[in-house]
Amino acid sequence: MNARLQKPATMVSLRVRVDRTLCQGHARCVVLAPELFEADEFGGGREIGDGGVPSDLENKAWLAKANCPEFAIDVERLGETA
């Protein structure tokens, strides 16, 4: 959880997605990566917008995935953009 200085948020090379059929509302992703995930009125998690992860938030995307008790979070690597 140590905030590390990283390169500026320009490139998007990861996308997060919550599988709503698996999510049970533990809300770990919402707490660990509030820039990437939000809760609906029933507490279910969902990615914000299209789930694109600014490069300075990649750690948080992986952290959210690693802490989801239901294995409901997918982190997809987008095609080479560089």
């Binding site: 959880m1 049970q24 509302g25 533990h26 809300a27 770990r28 919402v30 707490v31 809760a39 609906d40 009125e41 029933f42 507490g43 952290l63 690693a66 802490n67 989801c68 008790p69 239901e70 294995f71």
Partner: protein, 395 residues
């Protein structure tokens, strides 16, 4: 407990009321995980005990064979009224649960944080100038009891009555099912009066919320509302109290971790997750309603299964250094709040209460230890936590 036969062998004769299990279950669970990952006992009319994460997870995900209609392992099978949605199975479970989710979603819980903080501060204020206290009685148990009372629109001094019911239901009734039936009747009468009061004068509280709630478009009847309220009362207090108490116990016995959190309070949310993993308070039962096999073990219809989420959380196959409490453990997908469709509905609330309780305590009392020579007593039954936690504040 002295009237019961001593346990001959944990794998084939376990008893969750055994004094060794109550005091320190972790070595027993470790032994089972290595030698006989799914234990069984003929006690309590037959109970299975999976000790590995994968097996506990598989059962939690399988309501077709493992029903929630009976949740507690105790002598006898007293007929108890339902407390939806925790006692429900699919398909009814889904809509019942959905009705109850919004008041426990993150946005709603965030609004309760100032109240939780005020409760903690008031409790700590009473301890000013004291050289010792009981961390379980004077602090941990009071936080969820008072917050739950406020959420239900009931005066905070109902706490004593709540605790008496909870102790009788979770601990005493394990060997005397008649106690469970009596407590349920008392709680039902209590909530009937509260429901009547709220019909006359609605408020911003959970009783009023349930009166106005709908399941599949229809209002809930009085028995359903009363059952849900009983669930909120029983599930929200004992558990959170145990989790806060176990966290304080850890910090009282691990000065390095205590000093670390005092120096870096922003680590408290991460530490809370580790306390939940290592000291997960809750063990839930399932009734086997259709025989099946899991991991080579045959589960007989009609018997019970105990899902000790704390045992799943100590499985080294999933959690490196599982028996070590590492308060900055970053990857921690523990199962303290259950897995699958019955994930604890109050998990966000409980986490908030734990975080606020520790923030406030450490802010006021950065230095404390267990009282030398005093005895820590752990609860017996399906919710594990310290019930007596003598703490000394050094001068």
């Amino acid at each position: 407990m002295s009237s019961r036969a001593p346990v001959a062998d944990w794998a084939s004769d376990f008893d969750h009321r055994d004094p060794d299990w109550v005091e320190d279950p972790f070595p027993i669970w470790d032994e089972l995980r290595q030698k006989c990952p799914i234990a069984h006992t003929d006690r309590f009319s037959g109970v299975y005990f999976p000790s590995r994460y994968d097996d506990i997870r598989a059962i939690a995900y399988d309501p077709e064979h493992f029903s929630s209609r009976r949740l507690f392992v105790r002598e006898g099978r007293p007929p108890l009224p339902r407390t939806p949605p925790i006692t429900s199975d699919p398909p009814a479970h889904r809509d019942e649960r959905k009705t109850l989710l919004p008041p426990f979603a993150p946005a709603a819980v965030q609004k309760l944080e100032p109240l939780a903080r005020a409760i903690c501060r008031e409790l700590l204020e009473r301890l000013t100038n004291r050289s010792e206290c009981d961390g379980a009685v004077d602090y941990a148990q009071e936080i969820p009891a008072r917050l739950t009372a406020r959420m239900l629109g009931i005066s905070e001094d109902s706490g004593d009555r709540f605790r008496k019911w909870i102790h009788e239901f979770f601990e005493l009734s394990v060997t005397d099912p008649a106690i469970a039936e009596r407590v349920v009747a008392e709680v039902r009468d209590f909530f009937k009066q509260e429901i009547a009061k709220r019909h006359a004068a609605p408020g911003d509280d959970l009783v009023s919320y349930l009166i106005n709630a709908r399941i599949e478009g229809r209002p809930l009847d009085e028995n359903e509302i009363s059952g849900i309220l009983r669930l909120l009362l029983f599930a929200g207090i004992d558990t959170t109290w145990s989790a806060i108490g176990a966290s304080l116990w850890h910090l009282a016995t691990h000065a390095d971790d205590r000093r670390w959190l005092v120096a870096e309070p922003e680590l408290i949310p991460t530490a809370v997750e580790e306390f939940l993993r290592a000291y997960a308070p809750v063990t839930m039962g399932r009734e086997i309603v259709k025989e099946t096999d899991i991991n080579g073990c045959h589960f007989k219809e009609g018997e019970m299964v105990m899902l000790a989420f704390g045992a799943a959380n100590r499985d080294p196959a999933v959690f490196p250094d599982a028996d070590r409490v590492i308060i900055d453990r970053a990857e921690n997908r523990h199962a303290a709040f259950g897995l699958g469709i019955h994930r604890c509905i109050g998990s966000t609330l409980a986490r908030m209460e734990m975080r606020v309780a520790l923030e406030e305590w450490l802010g006021k009392f950065p230095d404390f230890t267990l009282t030398p020579g005093a005895v820590v007593k752990w609860s017996m039954g399906t919710v594990r936590g310290p019930r007596q936690l003598p703490i000394t504040f050094p001068k």
